[in-house]
Homo-oligomer: 482 residues x 2
């Protein structure tokens, strides 16, 4: 494809994207297709001759788009927001267009230095001190794995240079709670700690925050048993109910035993752009690493996960490589981001943050976050004020966990009821939210925060929810034919 052909096709694609984003609300929220439907609509063998950009765009529209769950849709309340602001999308397009290669400072100085700059901007905007340095990872999963690898190596006095983890004589222990995201458990297992050495510390009642007392007790018990406490993954906004672990108490305990503290703020990091919410991670300055994802609520397009460290030394010691073919004369003066994570090659991801802040501006971003927080409070009040409806956990940010419990429903029947009305809404395409379990029982997680979601959409959602829940209640009270 020549630059002139690219120009023509690019203009067409830009128009298509603008129209697509403009008309998103007319599409169903959850993809209305069957498993395998898209795969079957595509040829099984690779195209033998070129098709042209126009035909591909037509297929994109006809075959692929119906298979997209519209997470930018204002009636999307599932998982966590995954905003792809158009300002950051523009930056992502610039990154693609430039076709850079980030394998060393020399391979693209601009890529490295803009990443340094924007990571520092976001440090300032979230109120972290100058003691932190950051980089961009693909996801918080990778950041958490990376943090645990550093913790493992620090605790074992860098066993990677000797017999590795397998030669350690004391078991290294990792602490977190049941509220931890699945990627935290996965990271601990991938890092080789083993499930037996992963402690799910007790939580304090309805807050579902880690109990500092239970943590201290568990650490003492592990030390007494001859183990070595290695890392704590503390949650600033968990996935289930957006719980906040007491970072100040946790870091104080960790300091006594030189335990690495990684703060998983994947979702709630965005809230730290608002000074009035920073009390939620009080004590964070004493942690060792933090991950948060502008690609969630803040709205920088996926993938963009920030990873900050107070002492980068540990990270670089574990991750660095220095093969002859990657050396240059200025290596001692520059940052090599290849030593800050697992992959060698990186895209120019800083551009999307730069565009996002540069075009939308931080004030507008903050105003939108505050709008979502208000909407969550409004919605939670509607739910709690209604008969048979409950809000199940404190609404710390923008996620509201709810359940409808009419008379006679409990245990299994309550679970069936919850899943029935949530699935009915999700299947309808009118709105989407995630069913999730709390203490083994299903609930609905209404995660508010899509860029396009206004109060009117929440009013509509609340009507939809009541309608479907009542309809399903009626149905399940009919005599069963099965």
């Amino acid at each position: 494809m020549t630059p002139e052909e690219f120009r023509r096709a690019g203009h067409q694609l830009i128009d298509w994207i603008a129209d697509y984003r403009n008309n998103l609300e007319q599409r169903p929220v959850r993809a209305q297709i069957e498993p395998g439907e898209i795969r079957r609509a595509l040829p099984r063998t690779p195209p033998e001759s070129p098709a042209g950009a126009e035909q591909l765009l037509a297929e994109l529209e006809q075959v692929l788009v119906p298979g997209i769950t519209q997470v930018q849709h204002p009636m999307h309340f599932g998982w966590f927001p995954s905003n792809a602001s158009l300002a950051s999308t523009l930056g992502d397009i610039a990154s693609s267009g430039l076709g850079c290669l980030g394998i060393s400072w020399e391979s693209c100085p601009a890529l490295t230095e803009l990443e340094e700059v924007v990571c520092d901007w976001l440090r300032q905007l979230t109120g972290l001190s100058q003691n932190w340095e950051g980089c961009i990872q693909d996801t918080a999963s990778t950041s958490c794995l990376t943090a645990l690898l550093i913790a493992r190596e620090r605790a074992s006095d860098y066993s990677e240079s000797r017999g590795g983890l397998q030669a350690e004589d004391k078991p290294l222990i990792v602490y977190t709670t049941e509220e931890a995201h699945s990627s935290v458990i996965k990271a601990a297992l991938l890092a080789g700690f083993g499930r037996d050495n992963l402690r799910l510390v007790a939580m304090d009642g309805a807050s579902r925050a880690m109990s500092a007392t239970a943590l201290a007790r568990q650490i003492e018990a592990d030390i007494a048993a001859g183990s070595l406490p290695c890392a704590i993954v503390a949650l600033t906004g968990s996935t289930g109910v957006v719980a906040f672990d007491p970072i100040d108490q946790i870091t104080a305990i960790a300091a006594r035993h030189a335990i690495w503290v990684h703060v998983d703020a994947a979702m709630a990091g965005s809230a730290m752009l608002l000074p009035e919410y920073r009390h939620l991670w009080e004590g964070v300055e004493a942690a060792d690493s933090i991950a948060w994802n502008p690609h969630k609520w803040m709205g920088t397009i996926l993938d963009c996960s920030l990873f900050y460290l107070r002492d980068v030394q540990h990270l670089v010691r574990v991750m660095s490589t220095n093969p002859s073919y990657l050396r240059s004369n200025v290596d001692h003066e520059v940052r090599q981001y290849r030593d800050w994570g697992i992959p060698l090659g990186r895209r120019f991801r800083a551009l999307k943050i730069w565009y996002h802040l540069g075009i939308d501006g931080i004030d507008a971003i903050r105003a939108r976050l505050r709008r979502d927080l208000d909407n969550a409070q409004w919605f939670a009040q509607r739910v709690s004020a209604s008969e048979n409806w409950q809000v199940l956990a404190p609404v710390n940010l923008q996620t509201v966990c709810i359940r409808h419990q009419p008379d006679g429903f409990e245990g299994e029947s309550l679970d069936r009821h919850t899943l029935a009305w949530v699935n009915a809404i999700n299947q309808s395409g009118a709105a989407f939210m995630s069913p999730a379990q709390l203490d083994g029982r299903w609930m609905a997680r209404v995660s508010i925060g899509v860029e396009a979601t206004t109060r009117a959409h929440l009013e509509k959602l609340w009507q939809l929810i009541q309608l479907h829940a009542n309809e399903v209640t009626g149905e399940s009270k009919l005599p069963s034919n099965s």
Copy 2:
């Protein structure tokens, strides 16, 4: 930013990208800037008010672009080719524009199913049997780490569910050669094996291919010493001199001891699009996993690394998670790519392969690869036919490793000479190649394969090389003043 504002800014950006790619050849190949220059040109504090897309584009052009080493430039011969074909760039832009979220099949069925389809297309195009299934990773570094994690868990009977690697009683051993990419060593260390348990197997003379005899002997010795051979990372096109390990012999040895064989074909996988080159990985059907990067020579824009497995079961067992908030009713019928690697969230990367094959077409891609292979042979012949010039390793594909050794230069003085003429060319901005070490001595790696590189560019390169090498020879023969 509204869709209409995006439309206007998008058109402007597309025009800018088309012009940029069109005029790339007029820019210096290596960025002509000092460390810190770009960082200092950018504000230290985040922008307080929006700037607008037009101003950002002006800054992109004035501040950032001078800091880009132009790997799409036809005079770029460094590292390995990192082609960002405009056809695949278009697919990448579509991916950005759609703003999808790939955390489960349900979150974007099209993302999952197109990835299944294009990975299978590339399987067919590289002549692999139906026994392989694939997915897209960010880089071969991540694929290799993933492969070693699977190997570790399989060999330890899935110790992650018990005491982890740290509870294993026998040391698990990993085998590769000195030619292995730095990411292979890094992966072994991150996976917790430890450097003591990493064997760099002897190579067969000038081919720098792993010696099967040495491998078999080493494995026997390790078993005799009470260790457990776990994984072999075999190289199909190494980074240094593009060496090819004997995959058939290696897999035969591995089979006798149930050792996992990961084939690192990051660069040379593209050559397997050409049936006449597939003898170079003969025996690959008996390997366990393969990584190769369309984002290198083939030209699908970064990041796009294919990872194939013969028995996906092992991968899924190590990587899978199933939290309540990610479940859906059709989970048993669909593929969950989150269980195929480390990150949870993924971009819609399959689109760039789809666009690349759909617009450029496989015939044109193959023709270009053959052109580069011819150019490498032509260039190698020019070098070997010239006095004092040597081609240092077999030119198996498109990389030519060369050295200029005038009378009186050897050892340290030869190293200084090599670095002097290579650096002079790199600094001039007229062309770029990577100095690298071979058996501890510097050489120049001329890696041919940028989409825009024609025979004329190689003629120019050969003139430049001779000019600079001769100039430097003259200088270093002058009496020294220091």
